[in-house]
């Protein structure tokens, strides 16, 4: 049976880096927002364009960027439903193709019946702010207050989106097999332990 790991994460907790490094360590395929959106965009301009238009009433004119970069999701909720349906379909298709890790996209809920290992990555606010600062683009600067506000806003959006597709609440530990606190820790130091935990889980 295909081995699947899903990673849900607080913004700035390093969940994406864990996903990428863990996929490399395990030899699993890696899928995140950008990759899934890219597949989705490609399809939506090809054969699925008409059905997406019908479902949404509108074809989204921009890439779905909430997640790692600061979100426009809160401002444009009306665009999301067709994209989300298409993304769910793609996530399920990808999950059939081999051992893999999904970061975000409500994959823990979407793939529930495929018995994935569900991780939740979290962190204290100082560590999240520090990680966001390290990723600041040239010329971009937010005050600490602004940064914290945006971090909370993105997590609130993630929670809202997740809870639309799940019986449980985003970030509540009962939804996950393992919740990993990255506060003050260097992500790469956690990989050997998480790899061993994942292997134990799949060999059970």
């Amino acid at each position: 049976m295909t081995k699947i790991i899903t990673i849900s994460r607080q913004f700035g907790s390093g969940g994406r880096e864990i996903g990428k490094r863990l996929a490399d360590a395990l030899g699993f395929s890696y899928y995140d927002r950008e990759i899934i959106s890219s597949i989705c965009d490609k399809r939506s301009t090809e054969k699925e364009a008409s059905s997406l238009s019908l479902e949404a009433g509108l074809l989204p004119p921009f890439p779905l960027t909430f997640g790692r970069t600061f979100s426009t999701f809160a401002t444009y909720p009306q665009y999301t439903s067709a994209l989300l349906v298409a993304q769910q379909r793609i996530i399920r298709e990808l999950a059939q193709t081999g051992d893999c890790i999904f970061v975000g996209r409500c994959s823990n809920s979407i793939l529930r019946d495929l018995d994935p290992l569900n991780l939740f990555i979290y962190s204290d606010m100082p560590s999240k702010v520090m990680r966001c600062r390290m990723r600041e683009k040239d010329g971009e600067h937010f005050s600490d207050t602004e940064l914290k506000k945006r971090i909370r806003q993105i997590d609130a959006n993630r929670a809202r989106l997740h809870d639309m597709f799940s019986d449980g609440k985003w970030g509540k530990m009962d939804l996950y097999h393992l919740c990993v606190n990255t506060s003050g820790l260097e992500i790469k130091t956690l990989i050997p332990g998480l790899k061993a935990y994942a292997l134990s889980f799949f060999e059970r």
Copy 2:
């Protein structure tokens, strides 16, 4: 520096078994309620008897049994403060003697300044009920309703006790480095992963 792991756990989640197996796997000393209470009892009948009496106004006439077996703690809160002070002292002494694992006893909070790896072990209710059933003594039988009520009561006592000694809330993930869901899992299958995670943590 001494390597210390603390394990906080929901009643029936298998936290004690994780502690014992992980201690064996790592070659660490293992301390839980029974061991600490036993040291405490021994001392309280020897040199510390007088000071305990002074602190508490009463010398506890019974072993402190809340935890694994169903608790009398809720009924006798007036007896606990002196014992808890004595236990804290013993926990700090034991933590100086070598690499070790503590299960319960608010050790995550008591040993905070020694940089322990703090685990929280949790489980869904059906798994907790099943684990409690497997430990039923001869002649002991509780209905499912009664068992669930007692499980919730013990966790409520643990939370209340913990929160007296901590800035954070028992069971809230920000207090722990790793939260482990044991629902439907056999405890021993989790040990290789947890061992590797602990080693990564201490080598960071």
